[in-house]
């Protein structure tokens, strides 16, 4: 992993390697150097498999973080490549030409986070939600409770308990 | 054999007995299947309840005339098949309406119900119905062949096509049964029998998990009830033919009940053991295993 990172640093602008396990590490790259890096990883370093593509909404930093998790079957080892996007202009290059499966992930991200991947196939088709009109629900500024209360009728009389205190109360009602 | 009016109530009586016998028999068979899986299985009267419930449903839809008539064709096929075959040997009462035709009539009338049913299912416009029908038809082409050969061998053996005469020739001891006098033909016929009973390994036609039960996908309520009625008559009628041709027929209702049960059980025993064939697999199976036996039986006959 380390050697590979050292090797790749010469060619690609990339951050430090964050090692989690001997066979799992993460690295951050800039938006522009992602594609060449991914292509390199896929074609030369043996990371042939895109395990997943997912996003995190860092609303405080006004950024989206994309994580491309790659897998090297031969080694076996995993590498997560992270990219930060501007939350106000969430556009990213599509990688469906590298891994056709990426198109599906990108559809999901488009629907759930509103991140755009131009030219990705069937990007604007409904993925999980049907007829969704509100803001993308995985964005952290989307208030799901408020939405649920507005949309669905709730059965009155529902209580919420903290499981720990509730069970304590149930099991030891006398407070012992 | 001339027609007399009294044959009609007799025929109805046969029908009544066979319907009840079939309802109980199929439930029993299901129970046996369940016991193989260590379950209790359905109650022995469950079929009556299901039938009653389906007749008692309040809403119905129809996709068109043929859809409506499909179950009617189906049950007509079953009832007709039963009544064209003499049930009890030596009984004027229960030789039914067999004056209308011989073995050939019975064999060809088998298709009457299937054809009508297929047409009705076809009109529902459901692709699964059509897929089920194609599977059924494809399979039947190969599955019926050994039976046809066996029947041919048996009719050559007895030099008659009349079922009554074939049964008559087998009287006078177990060793006179075709089973023993012409074992090859019976073997071929029984293999064919497996293919026609809609049980594993030849039940890809219905394939509930894949093409929700095939042709009857759209059928419900009274339509389904008619088809259920047929499901209890038709196999029995078919088994009756086998019984008459190969197992000496029946001289009384007791013998009838036992023999039908035993023959029916053959397909059940095979069915609980084997998984399902795809259509082309079953076609090949019949052509490779069953047909040569049939061919042998007519060559030797």
């Amino acid at each position: 992993m380390k050697e590979m990172h050292a090797r790749l640093r010469h060619r690609h602008a990339m951050g430090e390697l964050e090692s989690r396990r001997p066979d799992l590490a993460f690295v951050s790259v800039s938006k522009d150097s992602l594609r060449p890096l991914l292509a390199d990883l896929r074609d030369r370093e043996g990371f042939t498999h895109l395990v997943l593509l997912t996003a995190v909404d860092w609303i405080e930093d006004n950024q989206f973080q994309l994580t491309y998790l790659l897998h090297d079957r031969a080694a076996p080892r995993d590498l997560g490549v992270r990219v930060m996007l501007d939350r106000d202009n969430p556009v990213m290059d599509s990688v469906h030409d590298l891994w056709p499966t990426a198109a599906t992930y990108q559809r999901e991200l488009r629907e759930m986070f509103g991140i755009d991947f131009p030219d990705s196939p069937r990007l604007d088709e409904e993925f999980i939600l049907e007829g969704w009109t509100d803001k993308p629900p995985y964005r952290r500024d989307f208030d799901t409770l408020e939405y649920a209360e507005k949309t669905f009728t709730h059965r009155p009389g529902r209580e919420t308990h903290d499981p720990a205190t509730y069970m304590k109360q149930k099991l030891y009602p006398d407070g012992a | 054999m001339p027609f007399e009016w009294v044959q009609i109530p007799y025929a109805l009586l046969t029908l009544f007995i066979v319907v009840n016998y079939g309802l109980v028999l199929t439930a029993l068979i299901q129970k046996i299947g369940a016991r193989v899986g260590r379950r209790h299985g359905i109650r022995i009267y469950q079929n009556y309840v299901d039938l009653l419930k389906n007749y008692a449903l309040r809403t119905h839809i129809t996709h068109g005339v043929m859809f409506y008539l499909g179950p009617v064709f189906r049950l007509t096929g079953g009832v007709g098949l039963l009544l064209f075959v003499p049930t009890i040997f030596g009984s004027e009462m229960f030789s039914n309406l067999s004056f209308a035709g011989d073995l050939i009539l019975a064999l060809y009338f088998v298709f009457f119900g299937s054809l009508g049913m297929a047409l009705g299912a076809g009109e529902s416009g459901h692709p699964y119905s059509a897929i089920g029908v194609t599977r059924g038809l494809s399979q039947v082409t190969a599955a019926e062949l050994p039976l046809a050969l066996a029947v041919f061998a048996v009719s050559l053996q007895y030099e008659t096509l009349s079922i009554t005469e074939i049964v008559a020739a087998q009287q006078g001891g177990v060793t006179n049964w075709t089973l023993f006098t012409n074992p090859l033909a019976v073997a071929a016929a029984m293999l064919s029998f497996l293919g026609s009973m809609m049980r594993p390994p030849f039940d890809v036609v219905l394939a509930p998990q894949e093409i929700p039960i095939g042709p009857p996908t759209e059928y419900h309520s009274a339509y389904l009830a008619l088809m259920q009625t047929n499901r209890v008559i038709f196999p029995v009628a078919k088994v009756v033919i086998y019984m008459n041709l190969f197992f000496g027929g029946a001289t009384g209702w007791g013998e009838f009940a036992v023999k039908v049960f035993c023959i029916y059980m053959v397909s059940v025993l095979v069915g609980v053991v084997f998984p399902r064939f795809r259509v082309e697999q079953s076609i090949r199976w019949f052509l490779v295993w069953a047909v040569p036996i049939g061919v042998l039986s007519i060559v030797i006959a």
Binding site: - | S124, L161, P212
Partner: protein
């Protein structure tokens, strides 16, 4: 009577006279030319009339001396006929070439006159040297006339011709002088009398003369020069070259043969055969019309040469046969060349210009028929006689090669006709010239007249005069009437003929007669649907019916075979009318003609030269030949029933035919084959060849046909193709039944005859109606039509129940009899195939009804209407009949049953009140119908009581795994319907037979393509060919 020498004198004199005229008086010169040619024709004609009236041949001695001191001419019947042919061709060509002749002036006219005169001279002269002179004159005149052509390439062609002609003339002259030296005479008869070939040096002299004369026939392959002329010369001159020069050269060859004696006959035959076969094969690869016609000419001349070579067995009938072939060829070929002058392009495709000109199309058809020897033209009588003579004498190789060559010839001619009718029309309309058209039509008239004459002198009842044929031909004259009127006439005609012939039928023939005449009339009811005039439909349709009705009435083999040819031709034209039917019609006609030739050969073998020959006398055929006769006839008939191996024409032909034609060619035409087979088996019974029983082979063929036909039907996407393949299967069943050779097998076959007619006609009509409304024949594009086309649905429903043999409809009767039949037969193994194919019928039948009428209705079909009334009406008649026939099959069958008992007394059925009993089982159609009906009615009422309030829903209201369908196309399960079945048994549907026949035709075509390179276009090479040919002839002669 004007002396025949005046023919020559007038020609020569007029030519000299023309030279005296002023060049500017072209009108006068042309009039003089025409007058001279007319006079020559008149003299020849008057001689012909006189000689035909019984006058003996007349010797004309020039200068008053007897030969050898002077040249002798002879005017006999053949000479008169050919002189007339030559001078008439000259006259008509002169008329045709009016423009060219007027442009070129008197010299051209003089050369034309010389040419005609010289050709007549060749015909008349009995002097060898004189023959040489006339031949040289012909060469010179030809050299001049070639230049008439506007085609600049003709110049080169003419020169090549002269080069070769020089070689020929050298050979001839040397031959003549040595012959003279040997015999001391130049007179041909003297030479013959002196037995030239036996004299010292005489043989080689004769050889040289013979080769030179034969070379004038442009024998294959030493004929490149001639083809170039055919291709480039003025068409009217090509007409002269092909018709007149060939005729003259043939009679010259005949004269030579009379010198050479029997020793040279085989040589002539072989040369003729090589020419006939070779030229026809090479013609296959031709794209240029005139060159193709040239090849055809060479082939035809070769055929006549064969006839001349067979004169030892033909004897007195030689002139009749050779003349028939020659005149038919001459008229047709002259007509073709004249016609080609009207067509502006030179590719075969450019003849599509004729489309839309029915008269010209009719002319083309007439010429093709003349060339192919189809009845009622002279070639038919000639081939009939020739084949019988050959067969009687055991010359099977010659016989086979002649038939093969004829088949190849029909291949390219019919293909050409198909192009004309079907290929995209070129934008070069035929020339409007009236005089040229008149010339072409004269040839047409001459062709028909020859047909009549040959009919009169043939010794058979004149084919042209039979009532059904005249009725059919009559439709040519009422083509201008609207279709419905013609349809009425046609139906009335069929009905009347049935009524008129009714008393003469025995039960067996009655069944066929009823199907053909009454059944044909019922199908014609559907033809009322056609709008407009429907030009070109009724004559062929009625020709087919005429052939069919004559077939079942035929007593002697000649009438039988002629009827067979009629129905083949008629049906071919009918099939060709379909939209994309061109290749299928071609394969149909080729298989049919091949089959017809097999029948012809079989009949000829059976007759052993005894003519007229009663078909029933086949039973007396010598035991040595009987199995071969049987096999040939069976193969011939089985091409018509499309038995496996010979079936590949059927699917396309039936599927692509028009809506009302499909039932005719399927429901009715196929029965012709069955009728033939019935007759054959009835007369000849069981035959064994090399220890194999032929009926047993037929049993296998029938079973295989049933299996493969049914299997292939199950995999079709095209509804009409499906029905067509199903016909193959059904015919297989019928063949199987017949081949069982027992009582019930025959009864079953006859029941199939009736049933197949009804349900196949019905199904073709209803499917045709649906296809008409939906605009497609692909079943997967249809679907859900039941509510829109309920009557069509009912017809198909009843049809498929009947086909599948499910009780209670009439198909079951067939199956019941079938089972009883195989019980009484000793054959076991083929049954397995039949048993297998039975249930397969369900596959395609269900597919037919499901994918068309059930399932999902398509967007664009939502507003369809029921099929047209006129299509529905006959279907409903059929439905009624099927139901009736199901209840009382005895009405039709018990008489047949009794009739069959005459042949197979065992196992007859017993027809009680309501029960039909066989040796093995019993069956009561009425009881079955009543029982099934009662049960059905009771259950239906019961369901109605329970479900009467059922909500009618629409087509997408189906459970769809909680989803819902979006498009009917993607919801209708129809395409590749039996995919699992294909997986299991698809290997049996590999187009092996198609590949086999394709390989045969490919082989022929590539042979043609490769061997045509032989003609390099170099004049010297052609001359070398000629010399090599001479050497080859020498070798053949030495060898024989």
């Amino acid at each position: 009577m004007v002396s025949a020498i005046f023919i020559l004198a007038i020609g020569l004199g007029a030519a000299f006279l023309l030279g005296l005229l002023r060049d500017t008086w072209r009108g006068l010169a042309y009039a003089l030319t025409l007058a001279a040619l007319a006079a020559m024709s008149w003299i020849a004609g008057s001689w012909l009339v006189a000689l035909a009236g019984g006058l003996g041949p007349v010797e004309i001695r020039t200068a008053g001396f007897a030969p050898p001191f002077a040249i002798a001419l002879r005017m006999g019947l053949p000479e008169a006929a050919l002189s007339l042919l030559i001078s008439l061709t000259g006259l008509l060509s002169a008329v045709y070439m009016r423009g060219t002749l007027m442009r070129l002036g008197r010299r051209a006219m003089a050369v034309l006159l010389i040419a005609v005169m010289a050709l007549v001279g060749i015909v008349l002269t009995r002097d060898a040297f004189n023959l040489f002179v006339f031949l040289e004159l012909t060469v010179i005149a030809t050299g001049g006339l070639v230049l008439l052509s506007a085609d600049p390439r003709a110049l080169g062609a003419g020169f090549k011709y002269l080069v070769v002609a020089q070689v020929i003339s050298i050979l001839l002259l040397v031959g003549v002088i040595f012959a003279y030296h040997a015999t001391g005479s130049l007179n041909i008869d003297d030479m013959a009398a002196a037995n030239l070939v036996t004299l010292k040096g005489g043989a080689i002299a004769f050889f040289l003369m013979f080769v030179a004369v034969v070379a004038e026939l442009k024998p294959f392959p030493a004929n490149g020069w001639a083809l170039d002329i055919y291709e480039s010369a003025h068409p009217a001159f090509s007409a002269i070259l092909s018709a007149a020069l060939s005729a003259a050269a043939l009679i010259a060859a005949d004269k030579m043969l009379s010198i050479g004696g029997p020793e040279w006959l085989p040589v002539a035959s072989s040369l003729g055969l090589v020419s006939f076969l070779g030229a026809n094969i090479l013609a296959l690869a031709q794209d240029n019309d005139r060159r193709l016609l040239g090849y055809s000419s060479i082939g035809q001349v070769g055929l006549v040469l064969v006839v001349l070579g067979q004169r030892d067995i033909l004897g007195a009938s030689t002139p009749f046969i050779a003349g028939g072939l020659l005149l038919a060829h001459a008229v047709a070929k002259a007509g073709f060349y004249w016609l080609s002058g009207l067509v502006q392009g030179r590719s075969l495709m450019d003849w599509t210009a004729l489309r839309g000109h029915p008269v010209l199309i009719f002319a083309f058809v007439t010429f093709v028929a003349l060339l192919l020897g189809l009845p009622p033209f002279p070639g038919f009588y000639a081939k009939w006689g020739l084949v019988h003579a050959l067969a009687a004498d055991g010359r099977y190789l010659v016989l086979g090669l002649i038939l093969l060559g004829s088949l190849i010839e029909s291949g390219y001619l019919m293909r050409w006709f198909g192009y004309i009718i079907k290929r995209p029309q070129v934008d070069l309309p035929p020339l409007p010239s009236l005089s040229k058209r008149a010339v072409v039509l004269t040839a047409v008239a001459a062709g028909w007249a020859l047909g009549w004459i040959w009919g009169e002198i043939s010794g058979y009842p004149n084919l042209l005069l039979s009532i059904p044929l005249l009725f059919a031909l009559g439709f040519l004259f009422i083509e201008w009437l609207p279709a419905w009127v013609k349809n009425l006439v046609a139906i009335a005609g069929l009905g009347a003929w049935f009524w008129y012939t009714f008393p003469g039928y025995d039960p067996l023939h009655l069944i066929y007669a009823a199907i053909i005449l009454v059944g044909g009339a019922v199908i014609l009811v559907a033809s009322f649907d056609a709008k407009g005039r429907r030009v070109g439909f009724y004559p062929p349709a009625m020709l087919m019916y005429a052939g069919l009705s004559m077939l079942i009435l035929a007593q002697d083999s000649f009438a039988f075979f002629a009827a067979w040819e009629y129905l083949t031709i008629g049906s071919y034209f009918l099939i060709l009318r379909g939209k994309k039917s061109e290749p299928h019609a071609l394969s149909y006609i080729l298989f049919s003609l091949g089959g017809a030739f097999a029948i012809l050969a079989g009949l000829a073998l059976g007759a052993q030269g005894v003519l007229p020959f009663d078909v029933a006398d086949l039973a007396k055929a010598p035991a040595r030949l009987a199995p071969w006769i049987f096999a040939l006839l069976a193969i011939g008939f089985m091409t018509k029933t499309a038995a496996i191996g010979l079936h590949i024409w059927l699917p396309g032909a039936h599927a692509e035919a028009e809506t009302d034609v499909s039932p005719m060619v399927s429901g009715i035409l196929l029965k012709a084959g069955l009728f033939g087979l019935t007759l054959l088996l009835m007369i000849m019974g069981k035959q064994s060849l090399y220890g194999i029983e032929l009926t047993y082979v037929m049993l296998w063929i029938g079973a295989l046909s049933a299996l493969v036909g049914n299997l292939l039907a199950a995999f079709q996407e095209d509804a009409k193709r499906l029905l067509a393949y199903s016909s193959i299967g059904q015919m297989g069943y019928a063949l199987f039944g017949l081949a069982m050779m027992n009582h019930l097998g025959w009864l079953m076959a006859l029941m199939f005859v009736i049933n197949h007619y009804i349900y196949k006609s019905m199904l073709f009509l209803s499917v045709g109606g649906v296809a008409k409304r939906t605009g497609t024949r692909d079943m997967y594009r249809m679907g859900g039509l039941i509510t829109l086309m309920p009557l069509s649905f009912i017809a198909v429903l009843i049809g498929i129940i009947a086909v599948s043999g499910v009780p209670p409809l009439s198909g079951f009767g067939g199956r019941w009899i079938f089972y009883n039949a195989i019980m009484s037969s000793e054959y076991r193994l083929p049954m397995v195939l039949i048993f297998l194919s039975g249930p397969i019928a369900f596959l395609y039948l269900f597919r037919l009804i499901h994918t068309i009428f059930l399932g999902q209705l398509k967007d664009e079909h939502r507003k369809l209407k029921e099929a047209p009334l006129w299509l529905i009406l006959p279907q409903m008649l059929y439905v009624a009949f099927l139901l009736g026939f199901a209840v009382v099959p005895g009405l039709a069958l018990r008489h047949v049953d009794a009739y069959i008992s005459e042949f197979f007394p065992a196992h007859a059925l017993i027809w009680d009140d309501i029960t039909i009993t066989s040796t093995f089982g019993y069956w009561s159609p009425i009881s079955i119908m009543v029982v099934v009906g009662c049960i059905f009615a009771v259950l239906f009422l019961w369901l109605l009581v329970l479900n009467h309030r059922a909500q009618k829903v629409k087509q997408f209201n189906i459970v769809y795994s909680a989803e819902r369908p979006f498009r009917p196309e993607t919801t209708h399960f129809a395409w590749n319907f039996f995919a699992p079945y294909r997986k299991a048994l698809g290997f049996m549907t590999l187009p092996l037979v198609t590949r086999f026949w394709q390989a045969q035709t490919d082989l022929l075509h590539s042979t043609a393509q490769v061997s045509r390179r032989f003609y390099t276009g170099n004049g010297q090479t052609y001359a070398v060919h000629m010399l090599a040919f001479a050497v080859a002839v020498y070798l053949i002669w030495m060898g024989s």
